[in-house]
Amino acid sequence: MSVATKQVRLSYEELYRLKWLLGGFLSLISLWTLLYLEVRSGPLIALTAVVISAGILWPSLPSKIPSLFMKAAVPSLILVIAADFFLSSPDIIPPLIRMVILLVLARSLAYRKRREDLQLILLCLFIVVISGVLTLSLTFAFQIIIFTPCAIALLFVINLLECHDREQEIPQEGLSEFKLVHFLLRIIKIVDLRMVAFASLLFIGVLIVSSFIFVVIPRFRLDQAIPFLNLKSQKSRSGFSDTIHFGDVVEIIEDNSVALRVDLPQGVEIPQTPYWRMVVLDDYSNESFRMSSSARLKNIYDVNNIIELKKDSPALDEQSDQEKWTFYLEGGISRYLPVLGLFDTMRFQTRQNIEINRLLRINSTKDISSGVLFYQVENMKLMDEIPATWYERKLANLKPLVVDRSSPQAVRTGLYPQTTLVLPGGGGNIETLERIVNEITEGNKLSAHDFTTRALDYLNTNHSYDLGYDVTGSGEDGDVLIRWLNSKSPGHCELFAGSFTLLARMAGHPTRVITGFKGGAWNGYENYYMFRNRNAHAWCEIFDGEGSWVLVDPTPGSQVSDMAGGLTASSTFYIDETWRAYVDSLRILWYRRIVNFDKTTQEELTSQIKLMGTAFIDGLQSEIKQWLHNMVTWFKQPLNYEKATRIIYLFLISLSLFLLIRFRSNIFSKLSSEAKILGFDLGADPVRKKAGKFVVKFRNKQSELAITQGNMTKEWRDIYRDLLCLRFSEGHDRPTPRIVFLNASRLLKQKKKELV
């Protein structure tokens, strides 16, 4: 083998170590993806990660595990897995994922042969994919991009080991001497940067080709003909369930993570302070607001108990000019879907079990989604008044209902909508409320509008806003809201909303508490609305006695604090262009371009490409036509000296070019032979010339240094032989000239230094 191209290579032990390392990294990457999944397996994931990391740093560890332990591991694993499935039923996904983690752990505790390595790759791939499918997280994109080359490299090394003559051997001695840093330095030392560059180019090619396949692969809907397992989130963030205890909403107000993103339709003015309704809480008892069972049950569900709004339903497809709002609700927030007001249609990307409450005009999924939920709302109206249903219109004739649950003869709460007039009895609650209401109304009977104005003044005067609150006394001293009203303590949005609700009910105006999101920020990078958990809010809706529920936000500092103003469409809003907003914009791009890529998007993309292509061709055609027209016009002009000269020049140039191209080889050889006569050599092979010069230098050096055949080094002999081959031989067996010349120069310089 020629010295010129000799390269250092990894031995069998080193390849095995590299395979072990890659397997460990692959497992760690897959465990990383599980961190975004709610599978209640934190300790197991941590343990597996620690074991794998230890295995990476000290590969000799598996050899120290007693064989009895490994033999007992298999039946134990089977038992544990079976028990987990049994105890977790009917939920399948969490025990399935735990099973896979255990298998990965088992594979990491023992030296692997080829079959086991392939099993490990499959297990890790399963984890990565299932996590991505269930969470739809942006980090999945990075994880799969890191996972893919790692898996490819591992397969490559496995393939190299397979062809080795020691294929089935596990070099335990080599693993016991392993030092990670030394090994990595060794890899860095021997790696060929050109190969790294080539591999990188190949990987970029893989990404480009896979992107192309992703875009062109035909899409059609099967609508989960085979039901797919869904991972349900165990609980929602507090404040967005149908029962709210004081402090629930406040718990998430300090949370800065984005909970909701909204893409607005084009041409719609962004509301100044949008209120996104999620949950309506009508009943108040035991110091908690909740959605009463009558509000939940009556006329709420569709006849079939489940309402699905499918995308691509024929009737809706015909209406192509709908204003579409696209919502991206993060997983684990709530099963209630925030909207601004009434709308025409709600569409989902996949089949969903939706519960539509036509009475309260709220919508929810059956379970809390663990991953991002996408839905589109068409023709949503920005409303500060929600029209009351015919059922609610009889509220105008109802009186407040005092419910004292401490009494043995407690009056039943009643049915919705009467629950919107329920007041807590006992403990002096009613007396306190009466006093405060009298103070507000001054004994007069006020309309809902007037009462709201005065009540808000009262609340703002007596209480300030603070996330914390300090209400003295206990339940025996009255309801917590009543006690707060009696005090001058500051409070948060729940207290203000709850208090206003009770005061309005006392005044005879049906009122209910609403929770959802308010405000938000505009992402200036990708132009969408962002709502963080700290934008969670509670406000009220008061029945105006004329058939509408009017939005009232009693919390001080809110922009909408009176009925007269209501929601106004305005262009003023907070634009977020911080680095957090930039990072979040990447996420929305991920959702828009990748996760939500569907048949419609494909068709749009195709038509866009078609349009671009058509426009380009049309433009080119018109340019060519214009040019031809100009040429024809020029030719039609009368002949003059300048024109004749130009024509002749053009003709001569064209003729010369044609002759040059047609007879180029003949011309060159003629020139070469003429040049040779004159003493120039144009046609000699430059490689042979250069090799000849090096041969002369080598011979001179050999004379100078008295190098004979006996004392000639192998390196010198090999390079000299390569030079002679380059100078004299023909055919395919010539070594690579560049490398031979490089090595020859290096050797000559080295010899020159020795001479000096």
Binding site: A4, G132, T148, F198, L202, R221, G731
Partner: protein
């Protein structure tokens, strides 16, 4: 100062390659390669390995799940799997590209002797090494085959010999064939097979055996003074041959070298007057196919070689064929090749014009013994 001048390699016509490129234009080669990637040409096969089948099943499963759930994450995974499969095909093609191989066989094969079958593999690429491939080499007549692996990486611009050590058991004609070049590079999903394209017929000489040969001293044959000339250091020029390391420079024939573009040297002769003629008659009535006949061939071959080395072999004759004078080593080799193919003859007319005191003949004896006679007298046995 003498510098070793390496021998210039003659142009080889024996190299086989994957046949990716022909002497057509680049454009034609490009389209032909594209077509080959999709529709492998004859002799080229692409078969999925068990791992590949799992990958295909996995892709189908993920594809089905993707369509069922309309999940773009699954579509993305499917796209990555498919593009990895495509990458695997391209890298496997690149692995073969630029490789050439040829079969280097020993000039002579002999029964019972271990002979290396050498496959010279060359990587003519400029940058990329060649990995993880193997040859299926077969000895068709003996029905032996082996996978000869390239265990390590073959760097760009280098050549390596892969060996298969073969011991042939039967004399005669053997066909050594490089039946196929295979690889599972790079990921083990697909096994690419390329027709090896090389098949060589070799003659397997009879084995060397121990024997005893002690002819009686006495009168010579009635053709005294048989002279034998063989290569040596005499004055007479008998041949021109290519230069071998160690040949003195004074023997170089410069004109012939200039004409033939390689270094040629003169081969001189030396005389010897004490020589035998080995005469083999193999009628079926005398010799039956079997162990004894094989021993006859082995005995005759071994004796011929030893006599030649001692400069005492004048010629050979087999049955009714013309006498073959043994002047050079090639003549001896020719005789051995004829011995390799020798079989008992059903119809044989004895020849009477080969006689003399220096003629060695053979007869079968009891118990698979073979006896040698010189001038009718027993001179040895095996």
């Amino acid at each position: 100062m003498a510098i070793e001048t390496p021998s210039l390699k003659p142009k080889s016509l024996e190299w086989a390659d994957p046949g990716f490129f022909t002497n057509q234009s680049r454009a034609r080669n490009f389209f032909r390669i594209l077509k080959q990637l999709v529709l492998p040409p004859e002799g080229h096969k692409t078969l999925p390995t068990p791992v590949g089948i799992v990958l295909i099943a996995l892709s189908l499963g993920i594809g089905a799940a993707a369509y069922n759930t309309s999940s773009n994450i699954l579509f993305m995974t499917l796209s990555l799997l498919l593009s990895s499969l495509l990458l695997s095909g391209i890298l496997a093609w690149l692995n073969f590209k630029g490789t050439q191989w040829r079969l280097n066989l020993e000039p002579h094969f002999r029964v019972g002797e271990v002979t290396p079958i050498r496959i010279e593999l060359s990587n003519h690429k400029k940058l990329l090494p060649t990995y993880s491939l193997w040859f299926r080499v077969k000895a068709s007549v003996s029905r032996e085959s082996k996978r000869v692996y390239l265990h390590d990486r073959l760097d760009a611009g280098t050549t390596r010999e892969l060996n298969w050590i073969l011991e042939l058991k039967n004399r005669g004609t053997e066909i050594i064939e490089v039946a196929g070049l295979e690889t599972k590079f790079p990921f083990g999903f697909l096994r690419k097979v390329i027709d090896g394209g090389i098949s060589r017929e070799v003659i397997v000489w009879p084995r060397r055996i121990d024997y005893n040969f002690s002819p009686k001293k006495g009168k010579r044959g009635h053709q005294p003074g048989n002279t034998l000339r063989k290569p040596g250091s005499g004055p007479e020029l008998i041949n021109l041959r290519t230069y071998k390391v160690g040949d003195p420079q004074r023997l170089v024939h410069w004109k012939a070298s200039a004409r033939q573009q390689r270094i040629m040297v003169r081969q001189m002769s030396v005389e010897n007057k004490d020589a035998y003629l080995i005469f083999l008659e193999t009628p079926l009535s005398k010799w039956q196919p079997g162990e004894q006949f094989e021993k006859l061939c082995a005995f005759a071959g071994s004796l011929a070689e030893d006599l030649y080395m001692q400069n005492r072999l004048w010629g050979t004759a087999i049955n009714d064929e013309a006498v073959l004078p043994i002047k050079r080593i090639n003549d001896l080799h020719y005789f051995l090749e004829k011995l390799a193919k020798l079989q008992p003859l059903e119809q044989y007319t004895p020849v009477n014009d080969i006689m003399g005191a220096t003629i060695i003949t053979f007869t079968p004896d009891n118990g698979n013994l073979v006896k040698a006679h010189v001038g009718g007298n027993e001179a040895g046995s095996a």
